[in-house]
């Protein structure tokens, strides 16, 4: 019988994983691309934190050992700054678990998340930079310390579309941009192009504007579970009350959170925009007409890839765009290298995020592509930073920008 997918499933407590820690046999499958699938030697390592710090503790087997050491009757280790660095520098990309769970049945990424939650429960977290994010979410419902009223400003330029206010009018589809695509100046274009594309596809959609709240993903990923639960509860109540059939988001983090952490509590389907666009294209509601003349490669965001299994949809869209020369990198799909920014690492350990992004940009360049396409605001921001730090120009764009140009 086939195994159930475990990436993105709910995370258990530290004690629930206690026995699993003993079962880790250090086979090393979690450190790199499955040997059966390796293409180029230099592209084997696939754990952002382990690749950066190299000590065993930063790889999945080390996290298992720390879990074991912390949960034995007389804990073997004290919680030091180093231990906090080991725990909080994990991007929760899920590559280790993608490799390990189907074969060895262990859940190293979930162990990492449980460790974060455990440290916070004991008062050893969140990290100072994460604390700022969390305070911002508490005060403003977003991690960017921007007022609630500014959340829907991205839509002001789109008056011609007459976007409905989903809190007042009934709509079939709710477009949920999330905090990044709503507030970050560089990313607002993603929201705008997404809305335009939905309008071109004659989709009956609306937004919540200033009434939209953070999905809680950031809080959950850095281990602040109690706060996440609070947001989840409020969002479930609000979103279920809208009477929508579908929630669409272009944010991989929001998508993963709604699908994996709100499991069974939402009365509607949740789709990432790539699924929704693929559907519109299949129904011939969208047709690509404009030639783009671009050599591109695609970076799988962890939160729609390993967490959501959305590997084919973005590729099908890219291949359908006229004039796009699509080239694959070596580490793709379930073996994709994380951009390095997940799990609060971009804020907590910017050097890990930057080193990983640069590594990914170099891999993208090896394909001969000029542009990296992705579907996640976190990946886009971090890969842009990586591209700026690497010699030679490399553009990083969201898939929706290309879709919009091609229509």
């Amino acid at each position: 019988m086939a195994k159930e997918k475990k990436i993105g499933d709910s995370v258990g407590s530290l004690m629930e994983y206690r026995n699993l820690a003993w079962k880790c046999v250090r086979c090393g499958l979690c450190r790199g691309v499955n040997p059966e699938k390796l293409i180029q030697s230099d592209h084997w390592e696939n754990c952002p934190t382990g690749t950066k710090y190299k000590f065993e503790a930063y790889f999945a087997p080390g996290r298992h050992e720390l879990l074991r050491a912390l949960t034995v009757d007389d804990p073997e280790v004290e919680i030091t700054e180093k231990l906090k660095e080991i725990v909080f520098s994990c991007t929760s990309c899920g590559h280790c678990q993608e490799n390990c769970y189907p074969i060895k049945g262990l859940e190293p990424m979930n162990v990492g998340l449980a460790l974060k939650q455990h440290l916070i429960k004991l008062g050893h977290g969140p990290l100072e930079p994460h604390h700022i994010l969390i305070q911002s979410i508490l005060n403003y419902d977003n991690p960017w310390m921007s007022p609630r009223a500014a959340r829907g400003k991205w839509a002001k330029k789109l008056k011609d579309l007459k976007i409905k206010d989903a809190s007042k009018e009934k709509v079939e589809v709710l477009y949920f941009p999330g905090c990044n695509d709503s507030y970050v100046p560089d990313l607002k274009e993603v929201s705008q192009t997404t809305a335009r594309v939905l309008a071109l596809g004659n989709v009956d959609f609306g937004i919540l504007g200033a009434k939209e709240r953070c999905c809680g993903s950031t809080a959950f990923r850095v281990g602040a579970v109690e706060m996440f639960e609070k947001y989840k509860k409020a969002n479930v109540k609000q979103l279920n009350g809208l009477g929508i059939k579908t929630l669409v988001t272009a944010c991989a983090g929001c998508y993963s959170t709604f699908v994996n952490e709100y499991t069974g509590e939402l009365d509607f389907e949740v789709l990432h925009i790539v699924e929704f666009i693929a559907r519109l294209v299949a129904e011939e509601k969208l047709t690509f007409k404009n030639e783009l003349d671009l050599k591109v490669t695609y970076h799988d965001p962890c939160h729609i890839g390993r967490y959501g299994g959305l590997y084919d949809e973005p590729r099908e869209i890219l291949k359908a765009l006229p004039g796009v020369d699509f080239r694959e990198m070596d580490r793709i799909r379930e073996y994709s290298l994380c951009c390095g920014s997940g799990g609060g690492v971009k804020t907590g350990y910017p050097e890990v995020a930057m080193d990983t992004a640069k590594m990914r940009v170099r891999e993208a360049k090896d394909t001969g592509a000029e542009t990296i396409v992705t579907c996640c605001p976190f990946c886009e921001m971090n890969l842009k930073d990586g591209a700026n730090a690497e010699p030679g120009a490399m553009q990083v764009v969201d898939l929706m920008e290309l879709v919009s140009e091609a229509l």
Partner: protein, 519 residues
């Protein structure tokens, strides 16, 4: 004379000395690559075996031979025990510190240093895994335009190639190309006092990587092979590459008989085909090995019982299709005479109800494998007369049944518990390697206890039968004093190379006369 083991060594493991050592290591390697934090140290005292070590006092991550040399000089100056560690897998229990001291984690030594396309060699650092080595070698070509490949060990693709080679590894390809230690050209070792020594043609001035194994004069490289870090740290190795054949085909053969009769049939075939030296790769597998054919999303435990206990995987090759076809014809005749049948993997897949990786064994010989059964495994292997393997197997089964009765509720992996592989036939198949694996749950204390007892008995049983251990592992080191004079000589060689006995102490018992031997 067998000496009783008694610890008489004094190490500089005091707080003050370690603090001084730490400062010196930081100066040599940079603060980033030296740690004494408990959160780092606690990750190095356990591995997949039932053996437990002790925390090291310091972990360091050098990136070059010279940095390893600096570490060894500091350790030597202050009498600090040193344990080398690469991927931490494959050789159970041999990278666990027993005294504390410095653990040299070799993860930063992950580079291919050179590929000599014409001489068909590749030079590697310590940490590089099998899959990566194969991938690099395959980018180069022999004169005939055929891609080059190394002889890849039949262990995890993530496990270190260098470690497997210097510890006398072997694989199904050994019948064609020899055991892995036979394919070493050059080795670079850092000795316990920090001296760097090169073995092979590289030990002579201006010779370089001439692809012959040894230079003239007494060859002492054997002292370092299979020494598992007790003679120093191997930082670089040059190994032979071979041209891939233009045409290769994989076969899966199953015996028509069952039980020990099936094993005998497999061995008969193994012998016949090795006599003709017809194969590129041959592997007598067990049901746990067959799991590599299953796609990842399926639970191995649900399918284990569907595969035969004994079966063979074989790869034939040829420069032309005609050569391959001829070999196939001869092979099939041999198989028939040995009561073996060519299994159709498509039919097997249909019977089991899943689509299977047809060429996965080929992939394994190319890149190393992924071990599919859950839990940990303990293994013990040796060289033995091929025709006597069935007797050995009978005794092995008795031990397994003593500790791992399938009816026992404590045992969750009853079917996967035991397996026997035969691979790496020596030329003409007179002798071969024989490996016994058993899988167990390291999270289950009862199973841990049984694993230790099983291994201890198996080691003794194998020695009683006259098996030569292929690798020294947990459960076999303790038996080495039974080698008598030979063992004494090993201890003396170790004492001369490492008079302070700082290099991986306790990997092998050395006897209480050690310090006198070194004088």
């Amino acid at each position: 004379m067998v000496r009783a083991y008694k610890q008489t060594f004094e190490y500089g493991l005091t707080v003050d000395t370690l603090s001084e050592v730490r400062d010196k290591l930081v100066e040599a390697l940079g603060a980033e690559w030296v740690s004494d934090d408990p959160a780092i140290l606690t990750c190095y005292f356990r591995d997949f075996t039932a053996r437990v070590g002790k925390w090291p006092n310091l972990v360091v991550l050098p990136s070059t031979t010279e940095e390893v040399q600096a570490v060894m000089r500091i350790a030597h100056e202050h009498r600090i025990p040193v344990v080398p560690y690469s991927t931490g897998f494959n050789h159970g229990g041999t990278a666990l510190p027993q005294w504390g001291g410095i653990l040299v984690d070799l993860k930063r030594m992950d580079k291919v240093l050179a590929v000599d396309e014409e001489g068909m060699t590749i030079t590697l650092q310590s940490y590089l895994g099998n899959a990566r080595v194969y991938t690099v070698a395959n980018e180069y070509f022999a004169l005939e335009g055929l891609p080059l490949k190394p002889a890849i060990p039949m262990t995890m693709g993530s496990a270190s190639t260098l470690c497997n080679y210097v510890s006398r590894g072997f694989s199904g390809i050994a019948g064609k190309h020899g055991g892995h230690s036979e394919n070493i050209v050059n080795m670079t070792w850092v000795l316990p006092d920090g001296e760097i020594v090169k073995f092979g043609p590289g030990s002579f001035p201006n010779v370089g990587d001439v692809p012959v194994q040894f230079g003239p004069g007494p060859d002492i490289s054997g002292m370092f092979i299979s020494a598992d870090g007790m003679m120093g740290i191997c930082t670089e190795i040059t190994i032979k590459l071979f041209p891939e054949q233009a045409h290769e085909k994989l076969y899966y053969l199953v015996p028509n008989s069952e039980g020990i009769g099936a094993l005998t049939d497999c061995i008969d075939f193994f012998y016949e085909i090795s006599q003709q030296n017809l194969m590129l790769f041959i592997y007598k597998m067990c049901h746990t090995d067959a799991l590599v054919m299953l796609p990842e999303e399926y639970n191995p435990a649900d399918f284990m019982h569907m595969f035969p206990e004994h079966a063979l995987t074989l790869i034939l090759c040829g420069l032309t299709e005609e050569e391959l076809a001829l070999k196939e014809e001869i092979m099939l005749e041999m198989a028939e005479s040995c009561n073996l049948e060519l299994a159709n993997i498509e039919m097997l897949a249909q019977m089991i109800g899943v689509s299977m990786h047809k060429d996965m064994f080929k992939k394994i010989y190319q890149a190393g494998k992924v071990m599919k059964p859950k839990g940990s495994f303990q293994w013990i292997a040796g060289y033995y007369r091929l025709d006597r393997v069935p007797e050995l197997m009978e005794d092995y089964k008795k031990i397994v049944m003593r500790y791992w009765k399938p009816s026992d509720p404590q045992i969750s992996y009853a079917l996967a518990m035991s397996g026997t592989h035969i691979q790496g036939p020596l030329p003409f198949g007179r002798a071969t390697t024989i490996e016994f694996d058993f899988w167990w749950d390291p999270g289950n204390p009862e199973q841990v206890k049984r694993a230790i007892l099983t291994l201890r008995e198996m080691g003794e049983m194998m020695m009683d039968h006259g098996v030569m251990f292929a690798k020294n592992l947990v459960g076999t080191y303790e038996l080495l004093p039974r080698l008598g004079v030979y063992y004494d000589l090993v201890c003396r060689a170790k004492a001369m190379t490492d008079p302070l006995h700082i290099m991986h102490p306790d990997v092998m018992p050395v006897g209480d006369g050690y310090s006198q031997q070194s004088e």
